[in-house]
């Protein structure tokens, strides 16, 4: 059982490796019920990996991931799919089913998980599409949508079953300012109206901080900072400060580990000279 009933998710001692690389090194975090929690951090720190670990698509090397009282790594295949029916996830690419229209994509979870009549499904799908502004695009195929529209259609599909947990993977990436503004409002509105728990994975600082109730900053496999948006924005912790303010110099290096540029440039010439 999860320790605290106020938390929808509790992650304890999570360790995860990808090959020899440590993605998470014994981290703990909690996602409170009914709130928007943001997971932020530089690219490549494993933010999406965390969502996949919570969704049971990846198995941790050590640690526990409690979701609504169930330890995800211990679940069998059937229990896992039952738990996922209570989750919604917005993928970075949208991940719409390319052989189905927008309408059928949104109707898909309703058809497979409910016994609703066709009329009821139609009404529900149209309401969800109305919420994301795509009611008029219901007959389009995914290949006919722009990137932003595909993301919104995928959001309509993710909320089709009114899930208890909604996970957003980089919802603002590649959106134009209008679509981004709408999405920011929509995430807050949906969370408040439907009362579900939301996790937003993003590195768009301003947008995410404007809607999040709590923020975790992850870097180098550790939680390097956490707190309410105001606290995190004005922290003095060097790694958090560098990320939140977008500073080029700081403890988080811009360059992938490599030897000195001068050595890389000079050595081949030296080798040639020695050969001559």
């Amino acid at each position: 059982m999860a320790i605290n009933d106020e938390n929808y998710i509790e992650v304890k001692g999570l360790t995860f490796y990808r090959g020899d690389r440590v993605i998470y090194n014994n981290i703990d975090l909690v996602i409170p019920k009914g709130k928007i929690t943001a997971i932020m951090g530089p690219s490549g720190t494993g933010k999406t990996t965390l969502l996949r670990l919570i969704g049971g698509q990846l198995k941790p090397d050590a640690g526990e991931i409690w979701v609504d009282g169930l330890n995800v790594p211990d679940l069998g295949r059937k229990q896992m799919f039952e738990l996922r029916a209570r989750m919604g996830m917005l993928f970075q690419s949208g991940a719409l089913f390319t052989d189905l229209t927008v309408f059928e994509n949104v109707a898909f979870p309703l058809r497979v998980h409910t016994q609703l009549s066709e009329d009821m499904i139609r009404d529900l799908v149209l309401l969800k599409l109305q919420a994301v502004g795509l009611r008029g695009a219901r007959d389009l195929m995914p290949s006919e949508l722009s990137g932003g529209m595909a993301r919104r259609a995928a959001l309509a599909r993710a909320i089709a079953l009114d899930p208890e947990l909604l996970m957003y993977d980089e919802p603002f990436a590649g959106q134009d300012p209008i679509a981004m503004g709408v999405l920011v409002q929509l995430i807050r509105l949906l969370n408040d109206a439907l009362g579900h728990t939301s996790i937003v994975v993003s590195h768009d600082v301003a947008e995410t901080a404007s809607i999040a109730d709590y923020i975790y900053i992850i870097s180098d496999g550790e939680v390097v900072g956490s707190g309410a948006p105001e606290e995190v924005l004005h922290t003095d912790l060097p790694r958090v400060k560098q990320f939140m303010q977008g500073l080029p110099d700081g403890p988080v290096p811009f360059h992938y580990p490599a030897r000195k540029l001068a050595d890389d440039l000079i050595e081949p010439n030296l080798t040639k000279l020695r050969g001559a």
Binding site: Q57, R84, M87, F91, A95, T98, F108, P109, V112
Partner: protein, 259 residues
């Protein structure tokens, strides 16, 4: 030397791991076989892998039957036995060429398409999103394709043999003038249902399992990049073709080799 041994050992372990994973994959996919509600998915896949493969099967069967008749007639006339043409063509097609060539064509036409389709679904996160919706992709995507392959390939092999025999009759009887009574009567006398037709069907069923299993597993297990999908598609055609030819030898040895 030690490094070489280590590399061979490592490749052996990788092969066994992959083989074990594909076995588990087949078990889960068969366990998740289409229920009544997903029957339309099965029908759609039967259309996609079976009906759409009909043209290549029919055309190939026709030409192979015609070539067999031409070659057979040339050889048999040397011994004055051209009336045995029906026997030669029917036994060759029913026992060997029907199941084997239909399976090779199926691997190239439908197997590669299955791998590419499932691989692209993986690369575009459609399989992952289906999992997160709470729908098992093995039940929804893999199982209908697997069963469609199992159902369609034996039927395609039978159609291949039938069209091949018709092509041989066209060349042998209608063009080269073999007496049609002896053509059909020899065939009727020599072809036994259990020994020839049923064994041919059993062969094609075994090939169907091998080819479709390889195709869907390669798609599901692909590295989700354009290069990964390209490699997986190539592997499907190569592995499936080799599996068909290898299994054909084993089955022929068991069925007709008195082993």
């Amino acid at each position: 030397m030690i490094e070489r041994v280590r590399r061979v050992g490592s490749q052996g372990v990788q092969f066994l791991e992959s083989f074990g994973a594909s076995g588990l994959f087949l078990f889960h996919s068969l366990w998740a076989w289409p229920r009544a509600s997903s029957f339309p998915l099965l029908v759609r896949q039967i259309y996609s892998v079976g009906v759409l493969s009909l043209i290549i099967i029919v055309v190939s069967g026709l030409f192979i039957g015609m070539v067999l008749a031409l070659q057979g007639y040339n050889i048999l006339t040397r011994y004055g036995s051209e009336q045995a043409l029906g026997q030669l063509v029917s036994l060759t097609l029913l026992r060997e060429l029907g199941p084997v060539v239909a399976s090779l064509l199926f691997a190239g036409r439908a197997g590669s398409a299955l791998t590419a389709e499932i691989g692209l679904m993986k690369a575009t996160e459609q399989l992952a999103s289906m999992e997160m919706i709470g729908v098992d992709p093995l039940r929804r995507i893999v199982s209908p394709r697997l069963w469609a392959g199992f159902i369609c390939l034996p039927l395609l092999a039978l159609i291949f043999s039938t069209v091949g025999i018709w092509g041989a009759q066209l060349v042998g009887v209608d063009w080269l003038g073999v007496y049609d009574g002896s053509f059909w009567a020899n065939m009727q006398d020599s072809v036994e249902f259990r020994e020839d037709v049923l064994n041919g069907i059993i062969k094609s069923m075994v090939f169907a399992v091998a080819v479709t299993w390889i195709a869907v597993f390669q798609g599901y297990d692909t590295v989700p990049t354009s290069e990964g999908i390209s490699r997986a598609t190539t592997r499907t055609v190569v592995y499936a073709s080799l599996a068909v030819l290898g299994l054909d030898f084993i089955l022929t040895a068991v069925m007709f080799g008195d082993l």
